[in-house]
Structures are given as C-alpha cells and as structure tokens.
C-alpha cells in the first residue's frame, strides 16, 4: 500500500501538551516544502551494534532534496556517507527517524516493498560499476525492467534506447569484460536510467576511472541534470562534487551545508 501522508494529514492530539509527542512528518515541513521535496530525512540515525560497543554511523540526520536537484554529498571515508547512501537507496533501514521518498514512508515498507521502491524509484550507479558478469550490456540494462515485469520486446527497446543515449549503440552485445571502465560505467548509468527512476544515486561513480573517463561521466550527470533528473552524488572528491548545484558535507555521521554551494536552493532542516 502506498501511503501518501500529505494528501491525508494526520491529526495531532493537542489536548495533552505535556506528553512528548513526536510530530508527524507532514507537520514538520511547510506545505510548500512538501510539494517540492522528493526526499525528506527526519532525525535519521543508524547505529551498528558491535557487541559491547555501538557505532553511530549516522547521527540525527535531517535532509531535504527537491525534485530536479543535483546534490553532492562529500565526506572522507568513515564519515558515514556509505551508510547514508544505503539508507537513501532503501538497501538498509535507519535505526531511528523517518524517511519519505517520493511520497512513500520508507519505514512502513517490508522487504518486498523496499525491493519495489528500489525497482521503481531508485537508479544506482556504483563505483565498481557492478554490472552482471558474463552478461551482455543489453541484458544488463534490461534486467531492472525484467524485475518490474516489463515484457521482452518492450524492455529490449527501452534498453537499446538508454544505451543509445549514452553512445553505446555499437556495444549492445559486449559483456562487461570486453568493455573499458568508462564504457562499463556508461552501461551502469544506462541501467540506472532505464526505469525512469525518481532519483539517481551515484556512489563514487568516478572512483575507478581515469580522469578523462571520469570527466565524461560527470558531464553525463550534468546533462541528465539539465534534462530535469534528480541526482545525488556521493564522493570524497571535492572536485567531482563541484559539478553539483549543491554540496553537503558529512563528517562523523552529521551533515553540514557547504556555504559556497548554498545558493542552489536546497534547504537544511
């Protein structure tokens, strides 16, 4: 069931002001913000229990990403950016807090629901490409559509189109091992795009590429952004992050808006 809490705001009991009632998400943000927001993270923490010690990888993170934004999240290794990526990508669940993605409260979903929202709303681009081995570029790009139940003909057509957009029309039958790193990453981007997801999540997409291919990939993201795609780029590299409209720094599991890029209109909550 897809619960749209914005269409049906929950009433809050005001008769007992003493009780520490946590406000529903719908009332934490203004109507204007809600209508534009694609992602709202509210008080997200992720705690890993490692025996006696518990590690707080994310600590009370609040973040709003608007539709059409190109956001870079920058941080050194161990800062919690991978954990944030996993939670944004619905691969992992927060220990505390509320996550609203494209009108859906993620914490209400079971495992199948998470799989469904990953399938429908999220396109991943990975540092190590993560293409299916011994599988042609075309089939790699078709696979997300297959899990959506799209028919064979339609998904082949859409996959061809996505690969053509990335200039890979002559590489349809090539397996990943026969492609260069830059080409593999472009196949990866085609795979992320083919489902027309609400958001593209790129985790160090240039990390394994030479500077030329890396620049190419960044250029692709800029073009996608220009055509209205919402992109979240996670990187440790400030130069890569510079391509984004808005940059957020993460350190020790806490976010801080970069003053230089604050003009893009993103809102820290």
């Amino acid at each position: 069931m897809s619960l749209n809490i914005f269409a049906h705001p929950t009433k809050v009991a005001v008769s007992e002001p003493a009780a520490p009632v946590e406000l529903p998400l719908s009332q934490r943000f203004s109507e204007r913000e809600n209508s534009q927001a694609l992602i709202i993270l509210a008080g997200i923490s992720r705690v890993y229990d490692q025996g006696a010690v518990s590690v707080r990888a994310l600590d009370e993170v609040n973040l709003t990403v608007k539709r059409g934004e190109f956001l870079a999240i920058v941080g050194p290794s161990g800062s919690g950016k991978s954990t944030l990526m996993n939670i944004l990508g619905c691969l992992d669940r927060p220990t505390e807090g509320s996550y609203l993605l494209d009108g859906q409260l993620v914490e209400e979903l079971n495992d199948d629901g998470l799989a469904a929202i990953r399938s429908r709303a999220i396109g991943f681009v990975f540092q190590s490409y993560n293409l299916l081995p011994r599988t042609s570029a075309l089939v790699n790009v078709e696979t997300p559509l297959m899990y959506q139940g799209v028919g064979k003909k339609e998904r082949a057509a859409r996959a061809r189109q996505a690969l053509a957009q990335l200039g890979l029309s002559d590489r349809l039958g090539h397996e990943p091992s026969a492609l260069s790193g830059g080409q593999q990453q472009r196949v990866g981007i085609a795979r992320a795009l083919v489902t027309e997801p609400a958001i593209i999540l790129a985790d160090e997409p240039t990390g394994n590429l030479d500077s030329h291919s890396g620049a190419e990939v960044i250029q692709i993201f800029r073009e996608l952004h220009a055509r209205g795609r919402t992109i979240i780029l996670i990187t440790h590299d400030a130069d890569v992050a510079a391509a984004a409209d808005r940059t957020i720094h993460i350190r020790d599991g806490r976010l801080s808006e970069a003053s230089s890029a604050a003009s893009a209109g993103g809102t820290m909550v």
Binding site: N86, G89, L91, D92, D111, D112, A115, A116, R118, S119, R120, F124, F126, N130, L131, L132, P133, R134, T143, P144, M146, Y147, Q148, G149, G151, K152, R191, T195
Partner: protein, 405 residues
C-alpha cells in the same frame, strides 16, 4: 517478474558454466541410471523366473498324497499311498479340467542294447502316465509320436524319452521304432520330446503307459501324483476347490485333515513374484542411495554457487529483485539440473538395461512407470536440496552482498 524470464535466467546461467553443469548433473545421472537399470534387471529376472515356472505346465495343479502316521510319527508329505487311479479318473469329470495326467514314478536302468555296453545305459526316472501328460506339463514332441489311449488300454510296451535322456543314450530321430530296454524289458521307442530348458531334470526321463508301469515295474495300485491342467488360469482356484471336495468325499474325510496336498502354479508364481518384489525393492533402494548422493552433490554446488555469486545477488537486489525472485532463480537452477540429469540418466539406464537384457537373455524390458518415478524422484531431490541454498541466496542482505569481494 515473469515466470518465463526466471526460466531464461536459470537456463542462461547453466549455459555459461557447461562443464560445471555437466559435473553437477553427473551424480543425478548416475543415480537415475542405476535406478532405471537395476529395476529393469530385477523385472527381467522376475520375468525369466515366471517364464520358467510357466514352462512347468499349463495352468498346472498338482495333487500329491499326504503323509502317513505310523504310531506317533508323522511321515513326510507324499509318503502316503492314498491316491489311486480311480481318484484320477474321478477328477477327469470335473468342470474346467482340460487334461489330467496321473503319474507312477520309479527309477530304473535303461539300456539301448540288451547287454550293458559302453555309455549306452543310464539309470533314470521312469514315469508311467497317460496321453494328457504332454499338455499338462507343457511338453512338445521333437520326433515320433506320444503315448495314445490304445497303448494305455493294451499295456503296450512303448516309451517316449526326454531330450537329455536321448543325448545320454546316444539316441536320435533315426532311432525311433528301435528297441530299448527298461529294467531289462524290451520297449519300443516311439518318440522323443523337445528340450524344455530350465532344469535338465525335466528332460531326463522316460515316459511309458501308466498301465504298463503298474503291470511290469511298480506293483502297486496307488499313484505318485496327479497333474491336472485347468482350462484357464482364472479357473485354477475353482478347480482346486472342486478337487479338494471330490477327494475328501471319496476318501471319507470330514474333519478337514486331508490325506493329500494340492499345489498350484499360482502359488509358485506368487512365491516367485514376492521374492522378486523384495529383490526389486532392494535394488531400487540401493540405487536410491546414489540418487540421494547425487542430490547432495547438487546442493553442494548450489551452495558454492550462492557464495560465488553473492555480489551478483546484491546487484540484483539493488536493481529491484525481490527475495522470492532470487529464491526462484536458484531453485529453478537446481530443478533444471536435476531434471536434465534425470532425463540423461533415463537414457543411460535404458541403454544399460538393454545391454544387460541382451546379455542375460530375457530381452529388453522397459517400464514407463520406473522412468516416471525416477524423474519425479530426481526433481523432488532437486527441490529438497535446492531450497536451502536458494533461501540462503534470497535472505542475503543487499548491503552486505554488495560489499562482498
């Protein structure tokens, strides 16, 4: 996700690792092949035994005398002398009796000449009987003629000898109408029977008219056994009942303790088939163990495969695969492995059983039921041993799986 896509996914994976696929299937192939071959061997052996039992006679019922009780000692079965020729002729009139052959058995020296010369003599079984014998005990003539009623009526000194006896005495078709000597008395050789096979004992005998035997060789009014041929195999039970009733009446038996024993071919066949059922079960059981081992082989490879493909599973989950998509993908792989292995195993099992059938001489026996059971069993094995690895794959945490190197 569509079922056909799942099938394609499983098939393409098996196609990319052909050697591994073949080796994984080998266990199931051997298991199914041995089930099919061993069951076929057991059935062939059963058919062979049945054929030999059938050769003993045509819907045969044998009546033997009971035992004697001397003081407090009970004699062996057949020791009594309670069956008479009159009993035999009374049984001739029963419904559904097609032929009857009373026998008087003894053992005498046979000679080809009237003196003991060289190898042309033998001590063997002499059976005094009637023309019905040929049909009752499923013999056929190789040369000459069989005993006829006139010869019985006239106590004629004629003899029909078995194939082995003919061999032993050096007699052949050219020897017909020559004289042979039984216990020193001259008999005219009128026929030689076809060899029956099975045991040579059945072919090493001399048949003479029962009247002649009583007159010249065995001075008794009792007879050894009565062989009766029922008109059909279904009638055997009914005829046995009538024989019992008739003989009890003739022997004035009212307490149910009969002085005769009735053995039917059905009883023999029943015993033989229960023996062969045990044999079949035993062989199938042994073969099933190899099938089980084959299943464990599949599980082993699938577990390795899940481990190797952890990252792939993570990728699939990240791009939208549900746990059950992963589960079915791996389960289907195991199922296809065991199904294909089962099919190949059937082919090999049929070949092997064909070879054994030719070698053992019972021909080729193909039982579709065995094949069906073997394939279903191998697929059940595929499911049982595929479920665990597949659920391991389905339960993988995508975050952990994506990090897996």
């Amino acid at each position: 996700m569509k079922p056909l896509d799942l099938l394609g996914l499983a098939l393409s994976r098996l196609g990319t690792g052909k050697l591994r696929t073949a080796l994984t299937m080998l266990g199931i192939i051997i298991g199914v092949a041995s089930v099919v071959a061993l069951v076929s061997v057991a059935e062939g052996a059963t058919a062979g035994v049945s054929a030999r039992l059938q050769a003993l006679g045509t819907n045969l019922i044998t009546v033997s005398p009971g035992f004697t009780i001397t003081g407090a000692t009970r004699g062996a079965g057949g020791s009594a002398t309670t069956l008479t020729l009159a009993d035999a002729s009374a049984l001739t009139d029963l419904a559904n009796v097609s032929n009857i052959a009373p026998e008087i058995n003894t053992s005498k020296l046979i000679m080809v000449n009237d003196k003991l010369t060289g190898a042309q003599n033998e001590t063997t079984r002499i059976i005094g009987t009637t023309p019905g014998y040929l049909n009752v005990f499923a013999y056929s003539l190789w040369a000459g003629a069989f005993l006829n009623q006139t010869e019985i009526d006239n106590n004629a000194r004629v003899a029909v000898i078995g194939a082995t006896t003919a061999d032993n005495l050096g007699l052949n078709a050219a020897s017909l109408n020559s004289t042979i000597y039984i216990a020193g008395l001259p008999f005219n050789l009128i026929g030689i029977t076809q060899p029956k096979g099975g045991s040579t004992a059945a072919d090493d005998q001399v048949l003479i008219p029962i009247s002649t035997a009583r007159e010249l060789l065995v001075n008794t009014s009792s007879i050894s056994t009565i062989g009766i041929s029922a008109s059909s195999s279904e009638a055997i039970a009914a005829v046995s009942g009538e024989i019992t009733a008739t003989l009890e009446q003739r022997h004035n038996i009212t307490n149910g303790v009969d002085d005769f024993t009735i053995t039917t071919q059905a009883q023999l066949l029943g015993t033989a088939s229960s023996v062969s059922d045990v044999l079949t079960l035993l062989l199938a059981g042994i073969a099933s163990i190899s099938l089980l081992v084959g299943g464990i082989g599949i599980m082993n490879i699938m577990l390795v495969s899940v481990r190797e493909r952890t990252r792939e599973i993570g990728i699939r989950k990240a791009i939208g695969a549900r746990a059950r998509d992963i589960l079915f993908q791996f389960l289907l792989e195991a199922l296809i492995l065991s199904f294909l292995g089962g099919l190949i195993g059937i082919g090999m099992g049929v070949l092997v059983s064909f070879g054994i059938g030719i070698y053992a001489g019972w021909g080729f026996i193909f039982n579709p039921l065995t094949v069906l059971v073997a394939v279903s069993f191998s697929m059940v094995i595929g499911i049982i041993f595929g479920v665990w690895p597949a659920s391991q794959a389905a339960r993988l945490d995508p975050v952990v799986a994506l990090r897996y190197e």
